[in-house]
């Protein structure tokens, strides 16, 4: 697949989270949908503003946990009842209360790993290269103290000149065109 070329989008830099959220709301209101905000710490209002409400991390975590539970409890039962039955002072082979602890630990283990790696996978990470890093002011600000709104060129409403004037009306510090 050839690498995409041309403009990825326009990125506006803001001084405060309030300005960013207001700009993001205005952009959503104006009909932009393919956009993203970049902030140095979680700004929930910005996610709301661009219409991102749900994430599937909890579901992935739940499924992982149930799988871990089933895997360990099944393994313990299979080992203790069929594969390697040990008669310990006449106790039943299927002594399920004793199986609870490892099964419980594996529930947590798998749920935790699913939450962590599921989160990364849903975010599309690891992704060392991304076009927004090309904006000259991005790396000094987005992970430190500035707030960014990027309207992406794939949005049907995106029109370089028009979008630029829209963003400039939101009182940003700067508006930069991002190349692939």
């Amino acid at each position: 697949m050839p690498l995409p070329e041309g403009t990825y989008g326009l990125i506006a830099e803001f001084e405060t989270p309030t300005d960013l959220v207001h700009a993001a709301k205005a952009a959503y209101h104006a009909g932009y949908r393919r956009m993203d905000c970049y902030t140095p710490y979680p700004v929930e209002e910005a996610a709301e503003a661009i219409g991102f409400h749900r994430d599937e991390v909890s579901l992935v975590c739940l499924l992982g946990g149930l799988l871990g539970l089933a895997a360990m409890f099944g393994l313990e039962t299979w080992i203790s009842v069929w594969a390697y039955p040990l008669n310990i002072a006449g106790r039943p082979y299927f002594s399920w209360p004793a199986f609870v602890v490892p099964a419980y630990e594996w529930t947590i283990l798998w749920a935790g790993l699913s939450a962590a790696f599921g989160m990364l996978a849903l975010c599309g990470l690891p992704k060392p290269y991304h076009p927004v890093f090309n904006a000259p002011n991005f790396r000094s600000g987005a992970t430190s103290d500035k707030f960014f709104l990027c309207l992406e060129a794939t949005d049907p409403k995106f029109e370089t000149a028009e979008t630029r004037s829209f963003l400039e009306a939101q009182k940003p510090l700067s508006v930069v065109e991002v190349e692939y």
């Binding site: 929930e44 935790g112 989160m119 060392p128 430190s144």
Partner: protein, 473 residues
Amino acid sequence: MATKDAPVNNPMVDPVTGEYRVIAPGHTFKSVTEEVSRIVLTGHTPLGWYFGFMLAGSIVGILMICVTWLFLKGVGIWAITIPVAWGFAIINFVWWIGIGHAGTLISAILLLFKQSWRNSINRFAEAMTIFAVVCAGMFPLIHVGRPWLGYWLFPYPNTMNYWPQFRSPLLWDVFAVSTYATISVVFWYIGMIPDLGTLRDRSTSKAGQFFYGLLSVGWRGSVRHWVRYETASLLLAGLATPLVLSVHSVISLDFSVALMPGWHTTIFPPYFVAGAIYSGFAMVLTLAIPIRKFYHLEDLVTIRHIDNCGKVMLATGMIVAYGYSSEVFMSWYSASHWEYFMMWNRMFGPIGWSYWVLITCNIALPQLMWLRKFRVNVGLMFLMSLIVNTGMWFERFVIVVTSLTRDYLPSSWGTYRATKWDYGTFLGTLGLFTFLFFLFVRFLPMIPMSELRLMLPQAKVKEHAEPLPEAGD
């Protein structure tokens, strides 16, 4: 509690609540970022760091010697023998795992309770957890005699056609501790990704950009990512919370499932957990106090943190005290001759002094922490943290040794005197812990920058004055 005794014009005291601040006033997003990342990105490593690192490194050398000799000669070089087959190895294992628990408590339980003061100490408390678990995990492994066969503990298809025994608490331990270690590492790493992104973007050296670039997995601070990240953090916190309670409970079952007097009690799981958190908070202070001084982080790790750690220690210390008194009461109330003798022997037997060391260190002296003046005194709190850690080590010593040396039959009584290899290995793990910690404070962000930014007043989104026109045009 209001700070009436604090000077009125102390900038570290919030005039509204009268509490010490969690973060010094006047900080901006940029200043907290710089304050934390300068420690890692500096080109001039402080001389003190080299000195400490070398010192810790040479103690790791002692550990290497002890472990090498152990592998050559076998566990006979330790003082363990019948009746005390579980000497320093299990004492140190329980002690280290316990220390780890405070890290998880700070990072997980306090996150769920929205105790935002924890933000500045949570990262290194988590690091403390991981390094403590590293030290802890080593002991059972080298204690099994043939550590290269340690993987036999895990269920895997093998040519011997055997499977592990799932009814034994010792096997439960394998799963509890390995899960705990894995989840702690994952939680720690996931929490660090945004800060690694900051370091990647601020690093000026090629090596730094590559190293942090690799570790930060391309984090770019997208709010969609942040939402998922926050969910994942909360879930991991929610999952780590039952781990704090379960790991030490499972470890205590190693003891309480046995029929040994002094071990066979139901108080063990809760009181082991409380003791774990108690010693862990003490270790947080032991680490935090010198680090904040050395790296001038008094703005970010404030008296408030030390005060709060003191309160948690006081509370968990009282639970531990309740555990001790319950043991004494039950040994009388059980009307069991052996239980009664065990308690008498624990207090006044040949190593009765160790019981009184633990009572002094864990119960008597910590009562000083009721005084606010004591809790806000950094030097005294450092001293107290060392005292509590000593006391908690003796607690495990008393539990393991007094019960095993004097069990039911006087003919099987024995003594226990640790050898230089026991002491050397224990000292060595202290060195390993410090060694890893030195590496951590030098190369990774020890204070979570993204969480500090969130705590600043300017991080809040203000409601905009002019409302947007109605949607749908």
